[in-house]
């Protein structure tokens, strides 16, 4: 069993590593092993599965990368799950992680935009922004309208990033703004792991074979 699975992993890794950037074959193997491990837990339910479901994926984001905001983890899941089948497949897993861990700025811009575009219509609307920024200001008890600050924050963000003045952020708007100021990459919430957790994750995922 073990040798069979190892062999299948190797062949799979071979094909995937040709399609996915940033990882060599050994690294892809590591990621596949991790994926299989996670799948193994899930397989216990007995149903045939195509990949990681939302809950499991969220757990990983939470535990490994410290992302806690449900709204954003949903977004990340959406961004990973390219075929919208509500499962993250092996391929989607490695592709997603390649951006998350080693993506270039352009890849990250695309990824972040996908995360923030909650309804997937190709625009980040004021409403979406409002939802994402909802908890970003400390409420002051004296305020009459607690949402006023958030609304205003959304307004200034639109003013800053909406270059074509259509009241919502297209990908082009987003890309231009981020190119101008990289800090805006994660403008609406943390959706990329920080350097430290990347390091920890990579150590875990990639050094496993040598330990065995």
């Amino acid at each position: 069993m073990s040798s069979v699975s190892r062999k299948s992993i190797q062949t799979l890794a071979e094909t995937i590593s040709r399609q996915v950037k940033h990882f060599n074959k050994a690294e892809v193997e590591g990621l596949l092993r991790l994926f299989n491990g996670l799948m193994g837990d899930q397989a216990g339910s007995g149903r045939p599965v195509h990949g990681l479901d939302r809950g499991r994926f969220r757990n990983i984001l939470h535990n490994t990368f410290g992302m806690t905001d449900d709204m954003l983890t949903d977004g990340v899941f959406r961004a990973f799950d390219k075929d919208n089948d509500c499962f993250v497949s092996v391929k989607e897993w490695t592709e997603g992680l390649s951006v998350l861990l080693r993506g270039t700025l352009d890849e990250k811009i695309k990824y972040c935009f996908d995360v923030y575009d909650m309804n997937g219509d190709g625009y980040i609307s004021r409403e979406e922004m409002f939802h994402m920024l909802k908890n970003s200001l400390i409420r002051q008890p004296t305020e009459e309208d607690p949402d006023e600050g958030i609304k205003d924050l959304v307004e200034i963000t639109v003013k800053k990033m909406d270059h074509d003045h259509d009241g919502k952020l297209s990908f082009a708007d987003f890309e231009k703004a981020v190119k101008e100021e990289t800090l805006l990459l994660e403008a609406f919430g943390t959706c990329l792991p920080d350097a430290k957790s990347i390091l920890v994750f990579e150590q875990q995922a990639f050094q496993e074979p040598s330990e065995q």
């Binding site: 970003s136 400390i138 600050g149 924050l153 200034i156 100021e181 805006l184």
Partner: protein, 1074 residues
């Protein structure tokens, strides 16, 4: 304490034999508070020994305390109280027999004020009222006299003096207590001083208010007090002044013509120092006379008018009510505005900042609120009492009052700062109602002036220039101001996502603009930005630094950042693994560390070492870089920028050296990237003022790279390279290296960029220093540098001129160049420069003119241009260097002028000047003066004059010198003066001969020659011969006879001959038989 009590404290006039009381003025109150604090510190465990010290005489006063106020440490018997603590002889240190209390130590005093609680101030006041000289009582008259006498003495000197006077009595604790008292004294004085300075002095706005008020008096009818009040010029400058800028520097604010009813028009000047009458414009006098003061100085317009116009002073007192109704509309606004709860709340907030006195202050304010105080009474404290009706006129907005009142209560910086903040919020609030309303602007202006004031007083140590930031009266706050305030609000309240958005939006503003910088600061944005640096959030840190690096170009922001401890955090960030963060931190440090305290902070927190580490990037010599390399270069660039700023302090230069910065800088110097090279070379040239760096620049082979960079097409880089060469080329080896690496030609070609004055100054400086070597001069000749340099002698800034003239002076040491300078028409501009005042320039000009004067044709031109007279007048220059250089230049002038003797005589007092220079303490001046004397003495008539001026005695006084240069010229001068026979004898009488003989021990041949010639002259007198013989002159003379120099041979031989002949004659006289 003595000084401040006598000088600063305001006593009421002593009345009917009773000692004067302390006036209940704010200044006194603050003084008392400070003294109270001082006393309290003894109780809180500070200085236990000093606290226990028993006073010489007890301090006694009538107290309000009663027996029941005392606790268990005291023995109470009826109304009397005695302390349990005694002086060791059973004598209690505190005794109370109502109403008199007597206290004998600070420990008891401090307990007393604690017991007194709120009444502490009254007690201290009463104590001081009855003990006008507390120091005498505490420490005895001895200390007090010292304290009174020498408040300027340093503490140590004082202690020494005390010990000297009475070594046994000066017990340690006594001295320490004395020092404490002295410290307190100083503090009190300086606090009082700040208070006074705030009191005195008019501000444009105060004057304006008063003028507006007075205009209200110019009504028709029977209430008329004045005919008219008008400004001479209605134009108001942005700082609120009406006077032209060149008068504003004298502190003058505006000029008024006031027509009173009973006298002729008064022409009045309002200046920051006070109000006075001027000549007026009508008399058609010289402009300067127009502004001349023709009356006493008054504190305000009203008092001036009262003294000048009896009608005014009579009527004004009965007019208060009527005037109040007729106040200008702007002030009406003030009245209408409700002085409501909010205002009061703000006042109380002010008070909270002031600690324990809050309650008292608050009371004061609420009492004051209804009667709008005018500013006059405050200035009045020391002068005649103001009539009350003036006070009822509201000329000062409530916010002004709030500002003034508490800062008087405790003249401390901190209090001032809290006010600024409050004021701003005040102004903001008003401006929200109506942006352009006057009060808002007024208080902003006020706060700004106060800014300037407090900054300059508390930070006088800063060595950077303070840009002239005049308060902008008419400035409407732009919308950016409010937008930025909003963003800062989100910074404060937001989580990291909101913070980053706010930061990014803030970056979009023009942060170099002062309005934006101030907006950020005013709402406490700086605190937030600095705090963000302390978080773990890299993106917040980056965003914050991106803003800080921009706004730190403002000097006030820089100070604020340092005050908030931002530098420490930035230094810590330099250790971060995130490259971008490191670079940004270093760049911000580079901006902030532009003043001394900041540079010191960077060093003290280990910043220099970390910055030096940033320089350690991989040797990227390739022109194109990978992204990572690029980042690394950027870090190195920012590190170098920061080091550049920091290296303006000498200690930091040493720290950079110790941290091993030099080899790293040397390595970076080979980099091909210009933007990296500029700060690197900048740092190097900054450090090159230290000799260790100059040595390293030479030994580490940096001269080659510096020269190479001269070829790059980047003006700033070229400038710093030239500047580095300028500083290093003082050293001969460096000059040779510049020559060797062919650096002279690019330097010369840089002269063509004459429009860039900084570059020109650096280049000409480098050329000057390089031209000290003769082989370099030859090169410069080859590149026809002199022609260019002569062209740069006119219309250049001083720093360029100094270097150009310096270079010409060096080049002119070569004969051919003197001709070139003359042929290019360089003599005239050089002589013209003799009238300049810059001493460095004068030293160089005189040297150059002196060198040119060696050539006869040039000399003719100099003479025609009256250059010699100009040189001669420079002998009066206070700088010894100028004196020496001018005197040296005079020497060839005398030699090469046809009627030199006549010319010298024509300068009235000229010879006296030279002779007097012989009394200088500067060796170079002395040597040059001797040389000039030698030249002057060639003419018999002039020699007679200088002999009458006592030249012989002065020369004789110098003979003991050991300086070879001076010896040589002195010996020559003595030889010259011996042309007059009586001087020969005189030198002997003045014992100048024996020291001269010792000059033969010198290693310098020139000294030998001059000495031999002087001795030859002196040996014409028999007594001198005897002295010489006694001084064993024969042996060295015999050696000199053996010299290769014919003149020396001859002089020595002839001197020996004179001695010999004397002895022969003696023998003949003694043994006539033979």
């Amino acid at each position: 304490m003595g000084a401040s009590l006598t000088r600063a404290v305001q006593w009421t006039a002593a009345s009917s034999g009773r000692p004067g009381k302390l006036e209940a003025s704010p200044i006194n109150e603050s003084l008392l508070k400070d003294i109270l604090g001082f006393v309290e510190q003894f109780g809180s465990g500070g200085h236990p020994q000093e606290a226990a010290l028993v006073f010489r005489d007890p301090l006694q006063w009538a107290t309000t305390l009663v027996a029941s106020d005392f606790n268990t440490d005291y023995d109470v018997s009826g109304a009397d109280v005695q302390s349990q603590e005694n002086d060791g002889k059973g004598h209690p240190l505190l005794r109370l027999s109502p109403p008199t209390i007597s206290v004998e130590s600070f420990s008891q005093l401090s307990k007393l004020v604690q017991l007194a609680g709120d009444k502490g101030l009254t007690e201290v006041g009463a104590c001081l009222e009855e003990n006008r000289d507390p120091v005498v009582k505490i420490l005895g008259p001895r200390f007090a006299t010292v304290l009174e006498g020498d408040i300027d003495m340093s503490a140590l000197q004082l202690v020494d003096k005390l010990k000297e006077e009475d070594p046994e009595q000066a017990k340690d604790s006594e001295v320490k207590l004395f020092l404490l008292l002295q410290h307190l004294d100083k503090q009190l004085l300086s606090n009082a001083l700040t208070d006074f300075t705030q009191e005195v002095g008019l501000s444009p706005s105060a004057v304006k208010n008063e003028v507006e008020l007075l205009k209200g008096f110019c009504s028709e009818g029977n209430q008329r007090v004045l005919k008219s009040v008008r400004y001479t010029s209605d134009y108001e400058f942005s700082n609120g002044c009406h006077s032209p800028p060149w008068r504003q520097v004298h502190g003058e604010i505006c000029y008024l013509v006031v027509k009173p009813c009973d006298t002729e028009p008064l022409h009045i000047t309002c200046s920051s120092a006070g109000v006075f009458l001027n000549q007026g414009l009508k008399q058609e006098v010289e402009e300067d006379d127009t502004y001349k003061r023709t009356s006493d100085m008054y504190q305000d317009l009203a008092s001036l008018l009262k003294s000048r116009s009896p009608h005014f002073s009579q009527n004004v007192n009965s007019q208060d009510f009527a005037v109040q109704q007729r106040l200008p509309s702007t002030q009406e606004v003030q009245h209408v505005e409700p002085v409501g709860v909010e205002e009061q709340g703000q006042r109380q907030r002010i008070c909270k900042h002031q600690g324990k006195n809050a309650a008292k202050m608050a009371r004061q304010h609420t009492v004051l609120l209804p009667s709008h105080h005018c500013i006059w009474p405050y200035r009045k404290t020391k002068y005649e009492p103001t009539p009350w009706n003036w006070e009822n006129l509201c000329v000062v907005s409530p916010s002004d009052e709030a500002e003034q009142k508490p800062s008087k209560g405790s003249g401390k910086e901190k209090a001032g700062k809290t006010h600024k903040k409050i004021l701003r919020s005040d102004s903001k609030r008003k401006a929200n109602f109506s942006l352009a309303s006057l009060p808002g602007r007024q208080s902003i202006q006020k706060s700004k002036t106060e800014d300037l004031f407090s900054e300059s007083s508390s930070e006088s140590e800063e060595d950077e220039e303070q840009p002239d930031r005049r308060p902008k009266t008419n400035m409407d706050l732009p919308s950016e101001y409010w937008q930025i305030q909003k963003l800062v609000k989100y910074l404060k309240r937001g989580d990291q996502t909101a913070t980053v958005i706010a930061l990014c939006c803030m970056m979009d503003f023009n942060l170099v603009q002062e309005t934006c910088q101030m907006a950020i600061r005013d709402v406490g944005g700086l605190e937030v930005l600095v705090n963000l640096l302390d978080t773990e959030e890299i993106r917040c840190q980056i965003g914050s630094l991106k803003i800080l690096r921009k706004i730190s170009q403002n000097y006030q922001i820089r100070r604020a950042i340092v005050d908030l401890g931002g530098l420490q955090t930035m230094v810590k960030i330099l250790d971060s693994p995130v490259v971008e963060l490191k670079a940004l931190a270093a760049e911000t440090i580079a901006n902030v560390a532009r003043f001394r305290r900041a540079r010191r902070t960077v060093r003290q927190y280990g910043g220099i070492k970390r910055l030096v580490e940033l320089l350690d990037c991989a040797p990227a010599t390739a022109a194109t870089l990978s992204e990572a390399q690029e980042k690394e270069v950027e870090v190195a660039r920012c590190g170098a920028l920061a080091l550049w700023s920091c290296s303006r302090s000498t200690r930091n230069k040493k720290a950079v050296w110790q941290a091993g910065g030099v080899p790293l800088l040397a390595r970076l110097l080979k980099s091909p990237h210009q933007n990296l090279l500029i700060p690197v070379v900048g740092t190097l040239q900054e450090c090159a003022s230290e000799s260790s760096y100059r040595g390293a620049i030479q030994s580490e082979g940096m001269v080659k790279d510096l020269v190479a960079n001269l070829h790059r097409d980047n003006v700033e880089l070229q400038m710093h390279c030239a500047s580095a060469i300028f500083k290093c080329a003082e050293d001969k080896q460096t000059r040779d290296l510049v020559h060797q690496y062919k650096g002279l030609k690019p330097l010369v070609s840089l002269l063509s960029k004459a429009d860039n004055k900084q570059l020109l100054a650096a280049t000409t400086g480098a050329i000057w220093k390089c031209s000290i070597s003769m082989e370099n001069v030859a090169k410069f000749q080859e590149y026809q540098t002199l022609e260019i340099l002569v062209g740069l002698l006119t219309d250049q800034p001083e720093e360029v001129l100094v270097n150009v003239v310096g270079a010409l002076g060096e080049c002119a040491q070569v004969a051919a160049n003197r001709v070139t300078i003359r042929k290019c028409g360089g003599i005239q501009p050089l002589v013209n420069l003799l009238t300049e005042t810059n001493q460095a320039l004068l030293v160089n000009v005189t040297r150059a003119v002196g060198a040119c004067a060696i050539e006869i044709d040039s000399m003719t031109i100099i003479d025609r241009l009256d250059g010699v007279r100009l040189l001669w007048s420079l002998l009066k220059n206070p700088s010894a260097d100028v004196q020496a250089s001018a005197t040296w230049a005079i020497c060839p002038c005398i030699e090469n002028t046809k009627d030199a003797a006549e010319m010298v005589r024509s300068f009235v007092g000229g010879m006296e000047l030279i002779v007097n220079l012989l009394e200088s303490t500067n060796k170079e001046v002395l040597a040059s003066a001797c040389a000039a004397v030698t030249r002057i003495a060639k003419d018999e008539e002039n020699l007679a004059v200088i002999t009458d001026l006592g030249v012989v005695r002065k020369l004789a006084n110098l003979t003991d010198t050991t300086d070879d240069k001076l010896r040589r010229h002195l010996a020559e001068a003595i030889a010259g003066c011996c042309m007059l026979v009586r001087n020969i004898v005189l030198f002997g009488e003045l014992r100048a001969v024996a020291p001269l003989v010792r000059y033969f021990k010198s290693q310098d041949c020139a000294v030998h020659l001059a000495t031999a010639q002087a001795l030859m002259q002196l040996s014409k007198d028999p007594t001198n011969c005897l002295t010489m013989h006694e001084s064993r002159v024969v042996k060295p003379l015999l050696v000199m006879i053996g010299s290769d120099d014919h003149i020396l041979q001859e002089a020595a031989a002839s001197c020996l001959g004179n001695i010999r002949r004397l002895f022969l004659a003696y023998d003949e006289a003694r043994y006539p038989a033979r």
